[in-house]
Every structure is written in C-alpha cells, then in structure tokens.
C-alpha cells in the first residue's frame, strides 16, 4: 500500500497538492493528510534503502527479534522455578506480554526514532526539517524508519498466539473485539509517550534516555501482572501516566481477573478514549516544544 502510493507520488515530490489527483486536488490544506503522506514517503524511502542490503536487514531483524525475546526468556526462566508469579500463571502472563509486545512493537516501528530528536537539535539538522513544507512531526517520526523493528511485533505475536492457544477463556464477541482494541489503543498510548518524550528533548537535549524509561520501561512493567507491583505504582500508571490502559485494565477483564484497584467494569472499555486523550495532550506538548525551539542559525 505504502509502496504503491509513493511510487506515483515520487514523480512530484515538491508538489503535494498537484492537480492530477482528483480526490484531493482542490482539498484545503490538511496537516494530518499531508503529514501522513509525507510520513509514508519518507518511510518507504528508508525501506528501500534498507533493502539495498538484504542480508544485513535479515540479520538485524533477527537480532531485534532475539533481543526483544529476552524479556520473555527471563519470564520463562522464572517459571522454570515457580508455577505462579503474583498469582498469575505463565499463559496469563504471556497474554499480558503478547498484547503489550504487539502494541509497543507497532509504535516502536512507526515512530521509534523520535528519540533521535535531541541529536538533531544538537547537530543542527533539525533546521533542515523546519524549512520543508511538511509537518515536522511526520519527518521526525519517519526519520530512519527501521523495518527491523518488526522483530518485536513478531515475537509479541508468537507469545500472544501461545497464550491464546493455551488459555481457557470464556470467549464472548466483546472479549474477541477487545484484543484488536487493546493493540490499537495501546499503540496510541505509547505513541503519545514517544511524542511527549520527543517534545521534552527540545528542552533537555541529552535526555533521550529518560524517554526510554517510560517507553521501554513501561512496556517491561506491563509484561508482568499488576499484582506484582506496589499499589502506589499501580495507581501511578493508572491515574497519572495511564499505561495501565494498554493491557492491564482491559486484559484483566478478558482474563476474568479483578483489577487490584477498585475500578468499575466499564473502565475496561475506555482504552480508545484514554489513547485519544493522551495523543491530544502529547500533541499540545509537541507544539509547545517545537515553538520553544530556537535555532543557533549555524
């Protein structure tokens, strides 16, 4: 899909609203549509450049798969010694793990390069992005688009597949729909964290690692059941930084487990709203960050 779009668009890279496309020729300027189109073009360019070295791509994709599988390996090693962790069995934890693995993996794939923003500010290459007639967020998000990050998504799929085959869940249509819903809203929540983290790097150039503790740290946290953690930590990721809505709150409904905090049942269906809210806030943070940017001019 992305390939087909960009193949035609590539003839007119400077002319986003060219008149030979009837569907949007006279459409008003839309940052979302233009941004998305630019994003797909830049991402496709990086994919083509990656595919120039196929063997290298295969190795790094496998490396990504192996590296991200280590988290599950740690869980397997734990379960070689115990039968339950925090009252949860291995398949139940695999379910939590698989959902967050896919959700975070998709976001990491889509905009995982956001943490390079500080470097761009430091070496002055952000200025190049500012003069192009394309939203900066789209350019930064697609920068160095790394297809190898499919490795994380793949291992998440494997683990979720294992969980779904082994688990004995009373499936209802709602519960079935919960799974794609969790993945998509979880992706939105993590996406908001990535964008907000990028905005923070306008202020703190070298602080890319702070972002890692919320993105990679957050996904590590969510791989384990909430009963493992202190109540205050669970409250923090439920009410302050709502990472719990990626999988804990909705997945525990699917598993038929009570959430350690006293939440009404309908909260399990709110992740899309939470995701949208997070994205709106992150968008505001991004605007504020971008507006505060002052180029050195050199």
């Amino acid at each position: 899909m992305a390939e087909a779009r960009t193949a035609t668009a590539a003839h007119h890279p400077d002319c986003p609203d060219r008149p030979d496309r009837t569907d949007d020729a006279y459409a008003p300027y839309s940052p979302v549509r233009d941004g998305l189109r630019a994003y797909l073009m830049i991402a496709a360019m990086w994919i083509r450049s990656t595919m120039a070295y196929r063997a290298s791509f295969a190795m790094t994709a496998f490396g990504n798969f192996a590296a991200t599988s280590f988290d599950f390996l740690a869980i397997l090693l734990m379960f070689s010694q115990v039968d339950e962790l925090g009252g949860y069995t291995l398949p139940e934890i695999a379910f939590l793990y698989g959902v967050v693995g896919i959700a975070f993996g998709l976001t990491d794939l889509a905009i995982g390069s956001m943490d390079r923003l500080g470097r761009r500010v430091r070496d002055g290459t952000l200025d190049t992005l500012l003069v192009r007639p394309v939203p900066v967020l789209a350019q930064v998000a697609a920068d160095k688009f790394a297809l190898r990050r499919l490795g994380r998504v793949t291992q998440g799929l494997f683990v979720l597949g294992y969980a779904l085959t082994v688990l004995d869940i009373d499936w209802t249509p709602v519960k079935v729909l919960m799974i794609p819903m969790m993945v998509l809203s979880g992706g939105l929540i993590f996406g908001a964290v990535f964008v907000a983290g990028g905005a923070f790097q306008f202020i703190a150039l070298d602080a890319a690692e702070v972002q890692n503790s919320f993105t990679y740290g957050g996904s590590t946290l969510l791989q384990y059941p909430p009963t493992v953690f202190a109540k205050d930590l669970v409250r923090g990721v439920t009410f302050v930084l709502p990472l719990a809505f990626v999988n804990w709150v909705p997945a525990l409904y699917v598993l038929g487990r009570p959430y350690p905090l006293d939440l009404p049942t309908w909260v399990a269906f709110t992740p899309p709203l939470v995701g949208a809210g997070c994205c709106a806030l992150a968008g505001l943070a991004w605007r504020a960050g971008l507006r505060s940017y002052r180029s050195t001019g050199s």
Binding site: S56, F70, M78, V82, E84, A204, V210, S213, G217
Partner: protein, 266 residues
C-alpha cells in the same frame, strides 16, 4: 613522557569525556532507577513464591537487582562502549593513525575504557544503588572490607569486559561492518552476565555452564562478593584467569589484524 603518564592521561581523558554530558548521565541514572524498581518488584514476587531461590534470600535478591543496575553502564551491558568507535576507525582507515602513535593499541583503548568505567561507577552506579537502599530492604554489608572486596571484583570485571569487547572490535578488520558482531556480543553478554536473572536461578546445567563463562565475571562475581556468597580470592582468581586469557587472545588477534593493514600513501 613516561609510558605510565601517557596512559594515565588517556584514562583521565576517558573519564572527562563521559563526565562532560551531565544531562545524559542524569537521564541514565533515572532510567536505571526506573528499571531497578520494576525488576525489584518482579524479584519480590519471585522470591515470595519461592523463598531462598538460588540460595539468595529476598533481601539478597533485591540487592542483586540494584547491583545489576549499578553495573549496567560500568560493564557496558546495555549499550556500546569504545568498541563502536574503534570499529568505525578500522572501517574508515583512521586506525592507521592510531597504529603509528608511540603507544600500544590495546593499552591505549584499555586506559580510555577504564577512565570511562570509573566515571560511570561514580556517576551512574552510586545513585541508583542509594535509591535502591532507601526504598527497599537490601542486604548490604556493614563491613567496609566487604565493600572494598567488591570494588576489586568490579575492577577485575571491567578488565574482562574490556578484553571481550576489544576482541569483538578487532573483528572489524575482517568484517568491516561490526554491527552484527556487536549485537551478538551484546545479546550474549546480557544473557550470560546475569543481567536477565541471577545465574544461580538459571535451571540446572545452563546455570553451571553460565557461571564458567567470562561474562559471569562482570555482574555475578562482584554481586556475590558483595553479598558474601562467594569467596573473594577464588572469585578474583576466576576473573584474573579470564582476563589473562582474553587479553592474550586480543593481543594475538591484534597482531594478526595489524599485519592486514595496508596504509595507502598519498
């Protein structure tokens, strides 16, 4: 300039180079602390389920978590140290300049790396450990000698860590692109150092094999010395043996590699 002073200057340079980026150091400390918290809770759950797993009680297991976070940067278990730079110099040919400097290649990089390790021990090791001790009930020794013994084990661990990464970097003379080799070393290092889980929790033969490999000198060895679970002298012997073997192997690879270098004039 005497050889000792030269390498001391290089080591000081390595220290100051990393000390320059204070915001990055603070961010690293923050990340190590967050990961320490997450791991600590999972270890509490694990040791609740099975007390005295691997011979540790819960306080010892928690101490292990925070020692691991403190060693994360020092032993280069998470990112790249000097080897990324050395590989780049080999690829671009800048290595030729390094080779006609009146300094030994291995010693030069070792001095720079030990300066880095010292900074990261102070800058990124102490604070997460202090946080851990404040928030959790750790099994920290009261005897200053035990801390000193642990410091020696850390220093020897740094030598082993350097020796491994030096060999990996020199592969670039043959491979040119070192990213695959670095990734492989990183994966092996995370697994066999005990960063994932203490090696004494590994099941059966896997645990025994892992304890014999050089990576156990990086984290498991200093942690066990601090926890009083290992005899310091035997641990040092193990670490020194691996350091000698790997440094000598690095020398051999170095002499083979430098014979390959053809310096283009012009």
């Amino acid at each position: 300039m005497g050889a000792g002073r030269l390498y001391a200057a290089v080591a000081a340079g390595g220290f100051r180079r990393y000390a320059t980026y204070r915001a990055a150091t603070a961010a690293g400390v923050f990340t190590n602390t967050v990961f320490g918290f997450i791991l600590a809770y999972t270890y509490i759950a694990l040791w609740d389920e099975k007390p005295h797993l691997g011979g540790y009680d819960q306080a010892q297991a928690l101490t292990y978590v925070w020692v691991g976070q403190a060693m994360f940067a020092v032993m280069v278990l998470g990112s790249n140290g000097f080897e990324a730079e050395l590989i780049e110099r080999i690829r671009t040919g800048d290595i030729a300049i390094d080779l006609y400097r009146p300094a030994d290649l291995q010693l030069w990089w070792f001095a720079a790396d030990s300066g880095r390790a010292l900074f990261q021990l102070l800058g990124r090791g102490v604070v997460p450990m202090a946080f851990g001790a404040l928030c959790f009930d750790l099994a920290l020794p009261r005897d200053p000698l035990a801390w000193l013994a642990c410091l020696v084990a850390i220093a020897l661990g740094v030598v082993v860590s350097f020796a491994i990464r030096y060999i990996v970097a020199l592969w670039a003379f043959w491979l040119l692109d070192g990213s695959g080799a670095m990734q492989l070393t990183w994966l092996t290092g995370v697994f066999f150092s005990g960063m994932l889980l203490p090696l004494n929790v590994f099941p059966g033969a896997l645990g025994e094999i892992a304890r014999l490999l050089p990576w156990s000198a990086l984290l498991q060895a200093p942690a066990d010395v601090l926890l009083g679970e290992a005899d310091p002298l035997a641990t040092y012997g193990f670490q020194i043996a691996w350091a000698v073997v790997l440094l000598a192997a690095g020398r051999l690879v170095q002499s083979a590699a430098t014979r390959r270098v053809v310096v283009q004039g012009g």
